[in-house]
């Protein structure tokens, strides 16, 4: 079974919520990204989402956009990211890895995506492909890779069902109208919509976009199968990119983990 699927199933069976965290590969450099991935795991993270940098990341707010820009200054490519995952797997074969990015960077290296083996990345989340479209259409047929689709507050009911069917990893519920890192969570709307998704699908539903505080995390975890934290981590990475003193990130993640437990 796919590493991501079995991990999430395992958590669910034990009545635990998943902590998913995001970082951009190569921000500030690949060695640091590798260290951060291990730090994430040591701090209680269940699933790591690696942002694949793109020049035109239209779903990202300023914080993650800037991280993409910094990574691109280091000429980070999908090939380098898969090598990074290989290095991570040398000491960690447990933690599922999701590659999150934009269609153009994946289809430019379809050969690489197709060659991803069992002991590498586990899932792909393409932000700019509508959920009911099958990634197979774009040549992504690798059986080692499952796919994650997004459902947003504006997704109509009829589409929720078809998107849920196509999502083999988990369903990523976008908790707000906006780009990554926005604020103003509408908790009632989120609760209702996640309930609706769960009527249509047994796939785990993660809540993400705009989660910053321990309170947000705790409230959202209560009505989902887990939470995704992105911008606030990326911001902390940027703040300490010179000193590389990331103790605060570990602390923050442990607090989050406690909040959702």
């Amino acid at each position: 079974m796919n590493r991501l699927t079995s991990k999430l199933q395992n958590l669910k069976e034990n009545n635990k919520k998943a902590l998913v965290t995001y970082l951009v590969a190569g921000d500030p450099d690949l060695d640091t990204t590798l260290d951060l991935m291990h730090l994430f795991v040591d701090s209680g993270v269940d699933v790591i989402e690696i942002g694949v940098p793109f020049t035109d990341p239209i779903a990202e707010g300023p914080t993650i956009q800037k991280a993409h820009d910094r990574a691109l200054k280091n000429n980070i490519s999908l090939k380098m990211i898969l090598e990074l995952v290989d290095k991570f797997r040398e000491t960690n074969t447990e933690t599922p890895i999701v590659l999150m990015g934009y269609l153009n960077t994946f289809i430019s290296h379809i050969d690489l995506v197709q060659s991803i083996g069992e002991n590498s990345a586990d899932s792909i989340l393409v932000v700019d492909v509508p959920g009911e479209l099958n990634l197979q259409t774009y040549g992504i047929t690798n059986p080692n890779i499952n796919t994650i689709s997004l459902i947003s507050p504006t997704t109509k009911d009829d589409r929720v069902e078809s998107i849920a069917k196509n999502s083999t990893g988990f369903i990523y519920y976008v908790t707000l109208r906006g780009v990554t890192g926005s604020s103003n969570l509408n908790i009632e709307e989120i609760k209702n919509n996640i309930q609706k998704i769960q009527q249509y699908s047994d796939a785990p539903t993660m809540a993400g976009f705009g989660i910053k505080s321990v309170e947000d995390a705790s409230t959202l975890a209560a009505c989902s199968d887990g939470i995704v934290i992105g911008s606030s981590i990326v911001e902390m990475i940027a703040d300490e990119s010179k000193t590389k003193e990331f103790g605060r990130i570990g602390e923050y993640l442990r607090e989050m983990k406690t909040a959702i437990s």
Partner: protein
């Protein structure tokens, strides 16, 4: 009167293998809402009447098809006709599309209008129609373009709209589009996004094409009246490609007319420093559509270079990519230097100062008129007037005001 009888795009928004809807999930419902509204209204008599009435009385259509005597004499062959989109209200073809889209916004009850702009012409055209309906308007513009198109920035502000300079990436048109999309993702409930070219996710390339096709339809009628047959060639500049698509589209089935799109060759296509994806790009996905794109081997979008802000864009409308692949339209490129030369030439010979974008189309007359028969009728789409470019041209000529 209908807008278009085209079989393209298909239901999913594809022109052959180009186009589609590659957007974050939050926008899917907004695109669907827009498509449903448009499909309902495009055959609605009241809507069509209102659109054409606005084009007549607010824009000043039809624009003339004008015989360029001295330019014709200059090339000593054929006859050169100018489709005078520069005479439209606000000075460019861009107003045709904004007049149509603001009507869609009105019918959809949207209170807030956003748009991206490169040269500023689409920003002015959007701010103009928003002012006319009293709607809040926000224009995203690359910081580099804000600098080189300061006159249009001021015009947009005078019209009561807010200008948001965009510093990210290359600080030009593509980055303005990214930022407008982000605004739309955030404010999707009450906001209408008026895309300014035949780019972006479906249904935009179709809607912008249909509204701007009034240009080509007029040329067909005017050609019959003025020289009794269809033109041998229609020439238009291509950035995103809306002015070219507007004039090309009604001609697609008129096979005797060559359709020639002129891209921005910048420092020269062979240098790689240009904005000519149809000449030197490969298919990729940017801003919601698959189309020819200037990208590196990792799928990262390349920075572009052109003296003309309106053509300084790494992508192109998907229908152009399709017309290129099926061979129905030809796409060439001319350099900054040749475009500037044509700018001066047309200004001096015809008393018409073209936009730098348009000057690219004029520059291609040099090789084209040599190649065509001496009886050939050639139509150049004068997509906009050049007042906005005076600062750029003066700077290049070393003139300080």
């Amino acid at each position: 009167m209908t807008f278009s009888n085209s079989n393209f795009p298909n239901k999913e928004g594809f022109y052959g293998e180009y186009g589609g809807k590659f957007v974050p999930e939050t926008l899917m419902y907004a695109l669907e809402e827009l498509e449903n509204t448009y499909n309902k209204l495009k055959d609605n008599k009241d809507f069509i009447d209102e659109f054409y009435k606005d084009l007549s009385h607010f824009v000043g259509r039809p624009s003339p098809l004008y015989f360029a005597q001295r330019l014709t004499d200059h090339y000593k062959s054929g006859s050169i006709w100018l489709k005078r989109e520069d005479l439209n209200h606000t000075g460019a073809h861009k107003i045709n599309n904004t007049v149509g889209q603001i009507l869609l916004a009105k019918y959809m009850g949207k209170k807030r209008i956003i748009a991206e702009t490169g040269a500023g012409q689409h920003g002015v055209a959007t701010a103009t129609v928003a002012a006319r309906l009293g709607l809040e308007c926000h224009i995203y513009m690359g910081a580099e373009d804000v600098r080189r198109q300061s006159l249009n920035v001021y015009r947009i502000k005078l019209l009561g709209a807010h200008v948001h300079p965009v510093d990210s990436g290359s600080a030009t048109l593509k980055d303005a589009l990214n930022e407008a999309l982000r605004d739309w993702v955030t404010n999707v409930d009450d906001t209408y996004y008026i895309i300014g070219s035949v780019t972006g996710p479906h249904p935009y390339p179709m809607i912008v094409r249909d509204f701007n096709s009034v240009v080509g339809k007029e040329v067909i009628e005017q050609s019959k009246d003025l020289f009794g047959k269809m033109p041998d060639a229609v020439v238009a500049c291509v950035g995103g490609g809306s002015n070219a698509m507007g004039i090309f589209h009604p001609f697609i089935d008129i096979k005797e007319t060559r359709l020639i799109g002129v891209e921005a060759g910048g420092e020269g296509v062979s240098t790689g420093e240009h904005a000519a994806p149809l000449n030197d790009g490969t298919p990729g996905v940017l801003h919601g559509a698959r189309s020819y794109l200037m990208q590196d081997e990792s799928g990262q979008v390349k920075d572009t270079k052109s003296v003309s802000a309106g053509l300084d864009y790494p992508g192109v409308g998907p229908e152009h990519s399709w017309l290129k692949d099926i061979g129905r339209a030809e796409y060439v490129a001319v350099s900054d230097d040749d475009a500037l030369k044509a700018f001066h030439e047309v200004t001096e010979l015809e008393g018409i100062m073209p936009a730098l974008e348009t000057a690219h189309a004029f520059a291609y007359l040099e090789p084209l008129m040599k190649e065509l028969d001496s009886s050939a009728n050639v139509v150049v789409n004068v997509s906009g007037r050049g007042d906005k470019d005076i600062n750029t041209v003066a700077e290049i000529d070393g003139i300080v005001f």
